[in-house]
Structures are given as C-alpha cells and as structure tokens.
C-alpha cells in the first residue's frame, strides 16, 4: 500500500496544488516531495512485502495496479522526487502562476514514479503516455519562448513513437491465442515466442528510442531543451530521458530478451553513432543549453550501448549510469536554472569570467562538470567503466569508438565551463552569487555523485541481484 503512495500522493497533491492560489503552492510541493522521499527511504529499509502492491484493476484489459520497488528501479525512484524537489527550489523567483508550475512538477513526478515502479506493461504504458500531459503544460505555459510550437513538436515526436507501442501492448494482451489477458511483466516473462519477439519489439523500441532520444529520432531535443524553462529541463533531461532507457531495459529484458539479443549489435552501432554525433554537435554549438542537451544525448547513447550489450556488466553499468547521469545532467541544468534566475543570456559568446562574480557557483559547477565527463571518484566513472568493460569482449571496435565519446566529452564540457566561468568578462550586469539555499540546491547532486563515485558497490548490489534473477 505504501508503494502506491509514491504515485498517488504526488498526483493527488499535484491536482490540489493547481487549486491553490499563488501563496504556498511551492512550499506545498516541496513538502509533498519531502514526504515522498521519506516514504521511499522507509520502504527501502522496511519489509519486503511492503515494497510491492498488486491489485486487480481492470481484469478484462489485463491491467493490474502492480507496483514494486526492486533493484532495477530503486535508484530512479529515489532520485525522482529529489530532482523534482531541487527543480522547484531552482525555479524562477517571480512567476506569474507558481501554482501551475508546482502542480505540473508534482504531477510529472507522480507519473514518472509510477512509470519506474510499474510491474504491469499496461500500467507502464499508461504512465508513459500520462507524463506527456504535465510536460506539455509546463513547456507550453512557462517556456522562455515559442512555448506551444516547442511543445507540439515534442508531442509529435513522442506520439509517433508511443502510439505504435499501444498497438504492441494490445497485440501482446489480446492476440487470439491468449485466453485471459494479463499484462503483468511476471506473466509475460518468457511467454512470447522468439520468432514473434522481433516484430513485436519494434513498436516498443521505437517509443524508447524517441524518448531517450537516439539519433536519428532526436529532432525534438535541441528546441525543447533550449526553449523550456531550465527547471523543467532538469526533470526532462535528468528523469524523463530515463523513461526511454529504463523502458528499454525493463521491457527488453523481461518481455523480449530474444529480440534484444538479436538486435543488440545493430542497436550498439546506433548507440555509438549517437555518442559521436552528440559529442560533435556539442562541440559545434554556441548555446549554453544546447551544449548540455547534446552532451546528454551523447551520454544516453553510452547508456543504450551498455543496455544492448547483453552482458551482465554492461547492463548493470548502464543501470548505475542512469542514476549517475540523472544527477550529473540534472545538476548542470540546475546551474543553468540558477543562471536563468539572474536573467543571463543563452549565447556562450556573451558569457565569460563569471567566476569573478560568482565564485561559489563556479566551484560547484566545476564539480558537476567533472562529474558529467566521467572524472574518477565521481558518479559517471564507475558506470561508464563497467559499460565499456562489458562491451569490450564482443564489440571491441565499437567500444573503442565509444571511448572517443568520453574524450570528446572532456573537450566540450571543459570548453563549456571555460567559456562561461573563466576568461574575459562577458556582456551582462554583475550578478549576485548564490545564496545559501541555492548553494544547497547544487550541493545535493554533488553529494549524490560523490556517493556513487566512491561507493558504487552500495548501489550496484541491488542492481546486480535483480539482474541475476532476470538474465
């Protein structure tokens, strides 16, 4: 029952937050997410039985309210309220309609938690689609510019991916040879014959590749990341992109293991193309947000590379990397959100020498930049290392090319940092440095990335236990 609260609480409170007037909605959202985090932590410590819930919902459709906290999703479930919490803290101070922002983020948080927790394919699909709605609302209403156009473009890409997935879900549930539809992952596991897996997997794959995104399905990425308010981008880049990778892992491993095995090598090529393409695009861009967007694309390619390697090391590393990437990229976008609070420009050529005015921000941002580019001792290092060791034996050439992505990451991220924080002073009014609350906002992801970097085993054990049960 407690697990349901992780979804129900933010969704109900999100709707309630819409009804609130200006005052208090932000504090309310923060309180709800703090409670949610508390519940998640207590569930981790608590009894095994409390971590799952299974309730028949609509038997005719094979839809069950089946949620569980397991090794695969525990990190993401913990990070979801955490990142959303920080996003609300980093939101612009003066907003026309703060209740809408708080409500939207709460709803998005609830649907994302549901997505990660779902143990029923129908429920998974439901959350996968439902989280679009608050995202569209947030982007459309709070965008820096071109809100509706950006939202519509994003919507089109996502729906082209996800509506075929609906067809896939329906065929899985209702194919004439199924007596009673049941979409629970448990009952689908090992049920789909290998020859059907390939063509049934395609609609799912398409949805996940668009959501991540992977080249060539990334058309929506630059405009969305550039135009959305940075506090929303924190969630989109940090968590929503994980809906794609997590889905690929969960649905791929549980329902279509044969297809994932067979398609693995070709998907690996696509992933490496994404890594290189993202890195080169980031090198060539002059927009503060676009560089981070392409950097995120490149890193997600690395995660996908690990997931499609069909090796325990690769998949475990990719799962760990999902969390590390959420923190690192989310953290970098939090930096952007804090700059947005100060009405800073987006073009890098107008930046420079920010460290003189904002030494605190400069120091913390350096930490997050290093975390993102895979500095040993910080979050991304163990995951990327494991992915590469996992893929090395079977796909040596691809692994070498993927490593190039890490080298390039150092180049574009350090260039990003250098242009913004050092060098000659750019064209902006002297900004205020971070206050203590804003420092806290950035210290949280740094703490998490340090934790992952120094004690990866702590996080890897549940993942590996889960994987052993699946593989």
């Amino acid at each position: 029952m407690m697990v349901s609260l992780l979804v129900g609480l933010p969704v109900v409170c999100g709707l309630a937050a819409y009804l609130m007037k200006e005052v208090g909605s932000r504090g309310f959202a923060l309180l709800v997410m703090a409670i949610q985090m508390g519940i998640a932590v207590s569930l981790m410590e608590g009894a095994e039985a409390a971590r799952r819930v299974h309730q028949v919902w609509i038997p005719e459709l094979g839809l069950n309210w089946s949620l569980a906290l397991d090794g695969a999703n525990v990190l993401l479930v913990l990070l979801t309220p955490l990142l959303c919490f920080l996003a609300v803290l980093a939101a612009p101070r003066e907003l026309e309609n703060p209740a809408g922002l708080a409500g939207g983020i709460l709803l998005l948080n609830g649907f994302l938690s549901g997505l990660f927790l779902a143990q029923n394919l129908g429920l998974f699909y439901l959350f996968f689609e439902a989280m679009l709605l608050p995202t569209l609302m947030l982007v459309s209403a709070y965008a820096r510019k071109e809100g509706p156009e950006t939202a519509l473009k994003f919507l089109m890409f996502t729906l082209v991916g996800s509506l075929p997935m609906l067809l896939g879900v329906l065929i899985l549930a209702y194919s004439p040879d199924v007596a009673a539809p049941n979409l629970d992952f448990e009952s689908l596991q090992g049920k789909v014959p290998v020859h059907r897996q390939i063509y049934l997997f395609f609609p799912f794959l398409l949805a996940f590749l668009v959501k991540m995104p992977m080249v060539p399905f990334h058309g929506w990425l630059p405009s969305l990341y550039r135009n959305s308010p940075a506090c929303v981008t924190v969630i989109i880049a940090g968590l929503m992109s994980k809906a794609g990778t997590y889905g690929l892992m969960k649905v791929g491993l549980l329902v279509f293991p044969g297809a994932l095995n067979q398609l693995g090598p070709s998907l690996g090529i696509l992933a490496v193309i994404t890594i290189i393409y993202g890195a080169l695009s980031a090198l060539g861009s002059d927009s503060l947000r676009e560089i981070l967007a392409y950097s995120s694309l490149s890193h997600l390619g690395m995660i996908a590379f690990g997931l499609t390697s069909s090796t325990a090391n690769g998949i475990a590393g990719a799962t760990l990397q999902m969390a590390a990437h959420a923190v690192a990229t989310g953290g970098l976008f939090l930096v952007v959100a804090l700059l947005e609070r100060r009405h800073m420009p987006d073009r890098m050529r107008r930046f420079g020498g920010l460290a003189e005015f904002m030494p605190r921000l400069a120091a913390l941002a350096l930490f997050l930049t290093l975390a993102s580019l895979g500095q040993p001792g910080l979050g991304s290092f163990p995951g990327e290392l494991m992915i590469l060791t996992g893929t090395w034996p079977a796909q040596t050439l691809l692994t070498v090319l993927a490593t190039l992505g890490i080298v390039l990451a150092a180049a574009y991220l350090l260039r990003w940092y250098q242009r913004v924080f050092t060098g000659p002073i750019g064209t902006y009014r002297e900004p205020q440095d971070l206050d203590s609350l804003e420092t806290f906002v950035l210290l949280v992801p740094i703490t998490v990335t340090l934790l992952i970097g120094f004690c990866p085993a702590l996080f890897l054990t549940p993942i590996q236990t889960w994987l052993e049960g699946v593989l």
């Binding site: 609509i58 459709l61 569209l136 209403a141 809100g147 509706p148 519509l152 509506l163 004439p176 539809p181």
Partner: protein, 493 residues
C-alpha cells in the same frame, strides 16, 4: 367510438419496457404546455417560474430515467408492443446515453438562449425531449417501421433546434441545410426499407432475417440504401459534408446534443441491421461497405479537422473520425457490443464536454470560438480551460482519461477478434487526431496573463450560470472517473 373500438391493445404490452417512451412523451407535452401559458409578445409579470419549472421537472425526470436504465436488468432480451420494440442491453445502454445527452443539453441550453435573448426555453426543452423520444424509439426498434418513425421524430425536432435562433443567419443556414440533406437521407433510408420489405415480405427484423429473401439483388440494393441512410446520421465519409456546416451554425448546446445522441441512435439501429442481416450476400456487402467507410472516416475526418480554424468545425470533423472508430464494432460484431458502448460513453462525455466548453468560451468572449482566440485561455478562465483541456485529452485518447480506456478496449477487442487492419488505421487516425486536439489544449496554456485580450468584453449577465458549469463539470468528472476506475461501469455493460 368506432375508431376507439378498432384500437387494439397489443397483447404483449410491457409497461416496464415502455416507461422511457411514455415518460419522454409526457415530458415533452408538459413542457410545451407550461410554455403555452404565456401570451405571445406579452412580458410575463413578476418572476417567470415556467422556465425553472420546466428545467427542474426535466432534470429530475431525466435523472430518474437514468436511474431506471441503470436499475433495469436487460440481460434477458424481450420483444414487446406487438413485437415492434425490443428491450435488451443495447436498448438499455443506448437509452441511458441518450438520457444523459438530454440532461446535459437542458442543463446548458438555457444559458445560451438567454445570451441570444430567446425566451422560448420551454420549447427548447420540449424539442430536446421529443428528439430523445425519437432516438430511444430508434434504438429499441425491432421493426423497420418503428426505426423510421423514431428517425423522423428526432430529425424533425433537430431541424427546429438547429434553426432555433432565426435571427442568426448561421443558424438559419444550419437548419435549412440539415433539413434538406437529412430529409433526402431519410427518403433513401425509407426506400431501402421498402426494397427490403419487397425482398423479404416483412418489416419485422426477425422475420426478415428468417425469410431467406436476403440473398437477392433487391435485398442487396435495399441494404445498401439503408446503410446510406444510417451512415448519414453517423456522419461517416462520404456522407459527412453536412456535419461541419450544420454543427457550426446550430446553437452550440444543440450541436453538443446532436453530435452524440444521433450517433447513439443510428449506431444502435446499424447494430441491429448487422445483427439481423448479417448472413447472406447482403450482409457481406454491408461488411465491405462498412469496412472501407470506417477506414475512410478515420483518415478523412482527422485530416480535415487538422486545418479547421473554428473549434466547432474542428470538433465536427473529429466527430466524423470518431464515427469511423465506432464503426469498427458493427464490422467485427462478435463480442464488440460492450467495447462499442463503452467507447460511446467515453466519446459522449469528452465530446459534449468539449462543445459545452466551447459554448462557455463563446459566452465569455461574445463571438465564435476559434483556435486562435482560445490561446492563453488558462490565464483568463482557468476552470473552463482546464475542463476543455481534460475533454480534449480524452478525445485524443491519452491516459488517464476515459477516451484512452475506450480506445484500448475497442482496438484491443478488435485485435482479439483477429482483425489487425482496423486498429492500425485507428491508431494512425488517433495520431493525426492528437495533433489538433492536443495542439488546441497546448495553446490554452500558452502566453501570459499580461497579454491584453482582443475582443469584446462579455456582458456580465451573459456569463455562464451554475447549471452550465454543472453540465461541464459532470462531463469532466465523468471523463476522469471512467478513465481511472472504468471497472464497475464496464462490468455493468
């Protein structure tokens, strides 16, 4: 006296089955009488109690009717009234849906009449009841004669409802267009019935199917003509040309009512035709026609809706597309009745909700509602915008709204029956549909409150009253409830 003696009371008279028809008929007469009490042209003195009386009476009776439909068990189908009528699950749910449409229409209608300085509220309600009576008859008809009688009864009432604001040229055009085209369609339908009678020697559906006369050319032509007549009411491609013009010009509440209620009645009749004419060459022909028209409706309706600027026209084309989804049910037939009715219920709530929201938007900006004029509505009218967005999302078929469950069930059952083509086209159609539904929903939230609103300020007395708010709220809550906990309704169906 002689005439009275000739009147025979049907031996299988079943009052329980007749209750809805009697109640709706009485309601129509009573509301007309309450209206007639005033002399024309003379302002009534003091407070006018007639309108609240009609409204209250109508609402209470309709709620009673809805409860009756819920309570009555239609599991055991039976024929009654000289076997002219049939009472089964389809009759029951169709009647329920029609009653809900009527209830929503009379709740939201008076506001719109008020806005047009139209004082004939009783007449409006009487016409809605009359139309509902015809629809209920059509949905429960076991004979082609009763089917046609019901069709004409509701069509005539709808002509009058479309032209209810004779001062507005759009309304006149709408009523006239609907009258001309619909009476032509009725004639075609009647001709088809006549041919079927010629082929089978009966007007009673059961006898027609037993007669063995359904294989000949006469029956094939007759079936084709009947389908044309019914598909006209469903606004399927290629019989959809009237829909956007009529929907745009008619009073918005009337559009809301007729866009769904006629579909319920026509679909029930179509279902029965397929049920009884299913076998033989006529049935195969019907299957082929319906199959191609369903796909065409899904694609054409959605594509044409994309480019519409006026919201009512957009919703009209969306109705064409939804008619296409609904046709999936009679095409496959086996096991499809419950998904069809569930989808119909979700469409009812989403579509009427959207039209009622449009009506409120029209009231608030005193002018036609266009896609460009609702940009940023959320900042001016958060409640209306939120309700409108919920209904649009449901029409687009995204969770957690009723429309999602409806499509999930309809397409899923079609796949279960071994038919993959129709669901694939349905999903392609939904994808196109999502662009305009969600594109409109997105634009509701964009912009900022600072931007000045261009357009006339609405008059204070034109602001929607609590009854129309209630109607809109019923739709939105229904959409959410059917979307989140569809189980109990589904198991009742």
């Amino acid at each position: 006296m002689l005439l009275l003696a000739q009147l025979q009371i049907p031996s299988d008279l079943n009052l329980l089955g007749l209750v809805p028809i009697i109640v709706l008929g009485l309601l129509m007469v009573v509301s007309l009488c309450l209206e007639l009490r005033d002399e024309p042209g003379v302002e009534p003195e003091g407070t006018d109690l007639a309108r609240p009386a009609v409204l209250g009476l109508g609402a209470v009776t309709l709620i009673g009717l809805i409860a009756y439909y819920f309570k009555f068990n239609g599991d055991n189908a039976f024929y009654h009234f000289n076997q002219m009528l049939v009472f089964d699950r389809l009759t029951q749910v169709s009647g329920l849906l029609i009653a809900v449409c009527a209830l929503l229409a009379i709740l939201a209608g008076p506001d719109e009449l008020e806005r047009h300085r139209n004082t004939r509220g009783g007449e409006f309600c009487a016409l809605i009841f009359s139309a509902s009576l015809g629809m209920v008859m059509m949905a429960s008809a076991a004979s082609t004669m009763v089917m046609f009688l019901g069709l004409e009864l509701f069509s005539i009432a709808l002509y009058l409802l479309c032209i209810f604001f004779p001062d507005s040229s759009a309304s006149r055009e709408s009523g006239m267009k609907y009258f001309l085209l619909s009476s032509a369609a009725s004639a075609v339908l009647l001709y088809g019935f006549a041919l079927l009678y010629g082929a089978t020697g009966s007007t009673w559906l059961v006898e027609m199917s037993d007669s063995g006369g359904l294989g000949g050319p006469l029956a094939v032509v007759g079936t084709g003509l009947v389908l044309c007549g019914l598909l006209f009411k469903l606004a399927s491609v290629p019989f959809h040309f009237w829909a956007p013009d009529v929907y745009q010009g008619a009073p918005t509440t009337v559009t809301a009512y007729m866009s769904v209620a006629t579909k319920v009645a026509a679909l029930a009749a179509l279902w029965r035709m397929v049920e009884y004419l299913g076998a033989g060459i006529a049935g195969q022909l019907a299957h082929l026609i319906l199959f191609s028209l369903a796909i065409l409706s899904m694609l054409v309706g959605n594509f044409l809706a994309l480019s519409q600027k006026d919201l009512k026209r957009m919703l009209a084309y969306s109705g064409v597309a939804n008619g296409g989804y609904l046709l999936i049910a009679p095409i496959i037939y086996q096991d499809m009745q419950r998904p069809m009715l569930f989808f119909m219920a979700s469409y009812l709530l989403g579509n009427i909700g959207a039209f009622l929201a449009v009506a409120q938007i029209e009231a608030l900006q005193s002018g036609p509602a266009e896609r460009s004029s609702v940009v940023g509505l959320f900042h001016r009218q958060p409640w209306v915008a939120a309700c409108f967005a919920i209904c649009l999302v449901s029409l687009a078929g995204l969770p957690p709204m009723a429309g999602f469950m409806g499509k999930f069930l309809l397409f899923g059952k079609a796949i279960q029956a071994g038919n993959l083509i129709l669901p694939v086209f349905g999903i392609v159609g939904s994808l196109i549909g999502a662009v305009y539904y969600l594109g409109t929903a997105i634009s509701l939230f964009s912009g900022s409150a600072e931007e000045p609103f261009e357009g006339d300020e609405p008059r204070a007395e034109d602001a929607p009253t609590s009854t129309s708010h209630a109607a809109l709220a019923i739709c939105c809550l229904g959409v959410l409830v059917l979307g989140v906990v569809p189980g109990s309704f589904l198991s009742w169906l």
